[in-house]
């Protein structure tokens, strides 16, 4: 009994003296959804955050006020700049719900390395946000653009990077852990997806941008930006980005078309599964990479005359897509070679298969990488031909012939 009484009293003391340590009511914090990092004229960090106005996003009565607001502050260090935002923001900024982190292109070219430590060290971040680069503009301008469909622009950007990665494959959702790993580890270089604003970014900041169906300023995804170390070097185009995703086994679904039959008629194939195996080795002092791709496709659209029940004709289509994919891959590899940036992780592949040899070459891997001999072996398998077997084009052609 005495013990219970003592325990009870000590519990009460604990509870009353601690005084709700580190409690933050929802009305005392503001949620940041996007964080933009630039450098200002004085070479200080310029941090811009996009915060949500919850009652405009999910409230009962929605007024014409903007659903997000952006605040920026500058500071010698990242953390200082982030804390300085409290001077402008009425509430403490809560960074745990960050959806996207955007670097300005200019900033990225100078190197993003110094920012990473704060991002991973600070307990306020959850490391599952997407990282991207504002292509051709400052990150601040990018996160200030309002989007018509999603009330929170950052959410729009994050979800469109994800969905385009899953369905079209020219972009890649890079999370903080992955970025840090590829920036710091050997045998692999980093990439980040680029985002740009189509139209005038200044117009995008006003409410007009969300009022019209065809917004004057649109946030669009671009292809992949190539890094060497922590510095942005340049950009891949859309096809090269897709080739990148083929090589790195990052395709869940995409679309490819090949010519078929007579002239410029096409058949479109939906990639439903793609498996890539990378094997690396050093032969005669030259790195050699063997890529094995197994691609499963469905027929999506036939605009030519073809008999899909005929094995030979199917094989021909498969061959064409195989060749096209090989071209895509080679194009992507040669672009990366130009930047001298091993974004595919070929170095890591060599290290895995031949650690001994890798030790000899790793110091001059940057110069050795452009000499890599990449052999891609692609196998395409048509799985299903869709709901119909004979193309409608056949009937149309027959009819026009009869008409003649």
């Amino acid at each position: 009994m005495k013990i219970i009484l003592r325990l009870f009293i000590s519990l009460i003391i604990c509870l009353s003296l601690s005084g709700c340590w580190s409690a933050k009511e929802l009305t005392d914090i503001t949620l940041a959804t996007a964080l933009a990092i630039d450098k200002d004229e004085n070479n200080e960090y310029k941090v811009t955050i996009q915060v949500v106005n919850p009652s405009e996003v999910a409230g009962d009565q929605i007024s014409s006020r903007s659903s997000v607001a952006t605040y920026s502050a500058t500071g010698r260090t990242m953390f200082e700049a982030v804390r300085k935002i409290t001077k402008i923001s009425p509430r403490k900024v809560h960074l745990s719900h960050l959806q996207i982190l955007v670097y300005g292109e200019e900033f990225a070219r100078e190197g993003i390395g110094e920012t990473l430590d704060f991002l991973i060290r600070d307990h306020g971040f959850r490391t599952d946000f997407t990282i991207a680069i504002a292509k051709g503009l400052t990150a601040e301008d990018l996160v200030s653009v309002l989007t018509p469909l999603e009330k929170i622009p950052a959410q729009k950007i994050a979800s469109s990077i994800e969905s385009s990665q899953d369905n079209w494959a020219p972009s890649k959702e890079v999370l903080l852990n992955e970025l840090i790993e590829s920036v710091s580890s050997e045998g692999k270089d980093a990439i980040l997806t680029g985002i740009y604003v189509q139209g005038d970014p200044d117009e995008g900041k006003s409410m007009q941008n969300v009022e019209s169906a065809d917004a004057p300023a649109k946030v669009r995804l671009d292809a992949i930006g190539v890094f060497s170390g922590d510095k942005l070097l340049g950009w891949l185009n859309e096809d090269q980005s897709k080739g990148f995703n083929y090589i790195t086994n990052n395709i869940s679904s995409t679309v490819g078309w090949v010519n078929c039959g007579d002239g410029d008629r096409t058949i479109t194939l939906e990639v439903i599964n793609s498996e890539t195996k990378i094997k690396g080795s050093i032969k005669n002092g030259k790195p050699e990479i063997n890529l094995d791709l197994n691609i499963a496709v469905n027929v999506a659209d036939v605009e030519c005359s073809i008999d899909l029940t005929n094995t030979e004709e199917r094989n021909e289509v498969e061959k064409k897509l195989e060749q096209k994919t090989v071209d895509l891959i080679n194009d992507s590899v040669s672009a990366a070679k130009e930047y001298e940036s091993d974004i595919f992780g070929f170095g890591a592949a060599i290290r895995r298969s031949d650690p001994q040899e890798w030790k000899n070459v790793k110091d001059n891997w940057a110069t050795l990488f452009p000499e890599t001999d990449v052999k891609a072996n692609v196998t395409v398998q048509i799985e299903q031909s869709g709901m119909i077997t004979t193309p409608i084009y056949n009937d149309i052609k027959k009819k026009t012939k009869e008409g003649n």
């Binding site: 005495k2 509870l15 340590w21 009511e25 929802l26 949620l31 999910a58």
Partner: protein, 530 residues
């Protein structure tokens, strides 16, 4: 607390002395004279107005004065008239008319052997026995010239019939329930278990109420040590009155300072019978339909009688639901508080934004908001129970409309909070046992305080303390958390899940060590040859 206890001890010992004095006064034997006996009875009962007496004469030739005494309302008057007064006055007169005159002693024996035709008849010699019988509702017959009397059992106090249980309802299963009369209750159990090994032992407790308390068990199944323990604890009871089995429960339970019940109470005869067959001891108390079952384990409070009448898969799922409901009822408000004030990063962004939108303009912190709504709900619930049924429904309308809708509209509480409180409330109604539901209701508040001060960390500290406490509890020597702690694999067949009947071959192990096998048939195998 300790000082208070000592005080209590002192007073109780003085009381004991008083009562022995009084009862020794009652030990006085009856006298030969009818009139002085009558006067003494009237004096002892303080001339109470419900004491009824009727004087009459026995025999025709040399009539002897006799008198019956009873307490109005406790006896069946018609029965007394037909089977006691009629034979005594009329039959005796006729049968005596042509025989020789008997002396008083012979007459007494004659009456006992041939005249009184009732089933229950007891001889009384002193005032103590006389008063016991009189107050219990028997009719006393005194004859002039004899220092003895008869107590005729013809109790007929108004009592409630066997009705449907009001607290533990079932969809499928027997619909009778215990009443306030202990003899009826015992009969309801006897009707179900026709075994000579169903043994009953009766005691009377309460210095003033003399309440009949009966313990029931099945000899050969029950662990005799538990029966001895029950009897030993009951023997220590020394109290003015026992009006409900709750009195007994508090006086003999293992641990008073716990929110959890360590004795199971039920008004269902089928539940009691099932418990007896498992080897438990039932404690029936006169005057209440609630029968106590010991030992009671934590899992017992999650088991409804109906679990055993429905198919095992269905009852297993429903039982699982009750365990989930236990945590919901206990933790929903505190988890809500913890997440919204400490761990915003754990809530999905979209949900958090909508929560934040609702909290805009709410003047209170989440904890105060939750406390406000929980207390309001407790008020409504308590009011709903006490009020007469028609007004009770009005209260629920007021509660739902005024407090739910208006509070949200007025911006005093957020809509999510109303959802949280409703979910908690619904979950707490799911338990088959009301006594556990109250515990959970109570424990919710400390958890809310813990959550408001330490967040999820506090909730986990609370849960750890709760688990430690539960493991330390015993019910008549049986660990409260068994069959989980200590873990008994065999008994898992009737814990969170209920295995089919044929798979529950053994009785619960800790409760029952001898004669453990209760089922022998094995899985039914229909003959597929035909």
């Amino acid at each position: 607390m300790i000082i208070m206890r000592q005080k209590f001890k002192k007073t109780s010992s003085t009381n004991k002395r008083d009562i022995t004095n009084i009862s020794s006064e009652y030990e006085v034997n009856l006298s030969n004279e009818l009139e002085s006996n009558k006067k003494e009875i009237y004096r002892l009962l303080g001339n109470s107005s419900d004491l009824v007496t009727r004087e009459f004469q026995l025999g025709k030739i040399r009539p002897i004065n006799a008198r019956i005494l009873f307490l109005d309302g406790l006896i069946d008057k018609e029965f007394i008239q037909n089977y006691l007064l009629n034979p005594l006055i009329n039959d005796l007169r006729e049968s005596k008319s042509d025989e020789k005159v008997l002396d008083v002693q012979e007459l007494y024996q004659f009456i006992k052997d041939f005249t009184i035709t009732t089933a229950e008849l007891a001889e009384i010699k002193n005032f103590k026995g006389l008063l016991e019988h009189l107050l219990a509702g028997d009719t006393i017959l005194l004859i002039d010239g004899i220092a003895k009397g008869f107590a005729v059992g013809a109790r007929g106090a108004k009592e409630r019939g066997v009705e449907e249980p009001t607290t533990q309802k079932v969809v499928r299963g027997p619909k009778d329930s215990f009443t306030e009369t202990i003899s009826v209750n015992i009969a309801l159990i006897r009707k179900r278990i026709k075994d000579p090994n169903l043994w009953l032992e009766s005691f009377a407790y309460g210095r003033k109420t003399k309440t009949k308390v009966t313990i029931a068990y099945i000899h050969g199944i029950v662990n005799p040590r538990i029966v001895d323990e029950v009897k030993a604890r009951l023997a220590k009871i020394d109290i003015d009155g026992i009006l409900e089995s709750g009195y007994i429960e508090e006086l003999i339970e293992d641990e008073t300072y716990t929110p959890f019940p360590t004795m199971f109470n039920t008004e269902r005869p089928d539940a009691v019978s099932a418990a007896l067959l498992e080897g438990k001891v039932a404690i029936l108390v006169d005057g209440t339909p609630f029968v106590l079952l010991v030992p009671a384990l934590f899992v017992d409070f999650f088991q409804a009688s109906e679990d055993y009448y429905q198919r095992s898969d269905i009852s297993s799922l429903i039982r699982l639901l009750r365990y989930i409901a236990f945590f919901l009822a206990l933790l929903t408000p505190s988890v809500y508080i913890a997440l919204t004030t400490f761990h915003q990063e754990m809530i999905p962004t979209t949900l958090l934004v909508s929560l934040a939108a609702q909290r805009e303009g709410i003047p209170f912190p989440a904890f105060v908001e939750a406390l406000l709504m929980e207390i309001t709900f407790e008020l409504l619930r308590e009011a709903g129970i006490r009020l007469p049924t028609p007004i009770g429904s009005a209260i629920s309308i007021v509660g739902a409309l005024v407090l739910g809708q208006a509070a949200v509209d007025a911006g005093i509480v957020s809509a999510t909070m109303v959802i949280v409180v409703s979910l908690t409330a619904i979950s707490s109604f799911i338990f088959p046992s009301y006594s556990l539901a109250i515990s959970v209701r109570m424990l919710r508040f400390p958890f809310m305080v813990m959550a408001a001060t330490f967040g999820l960390f506090g909730i986990f500290i609370g849960l750890i303390i709760l688990t430690l406490h539960l493991t330390s509890l015993r019910s008549f020597g049986i660990p409260y958390l068994s069959p989980f702690a200590p873990f008994i694999a065999e008994d898992q067949r009737d814990a969170v899940f209920r295995a089919p009947r044929w798979a529950q071959k053994k009785r619960p192990r800790l409760i029952n060590q001898r004669n453990t096998r209760r089922e022998n048939a094995g899985q039914p195998q229909p003959d597929r040859k035909g």
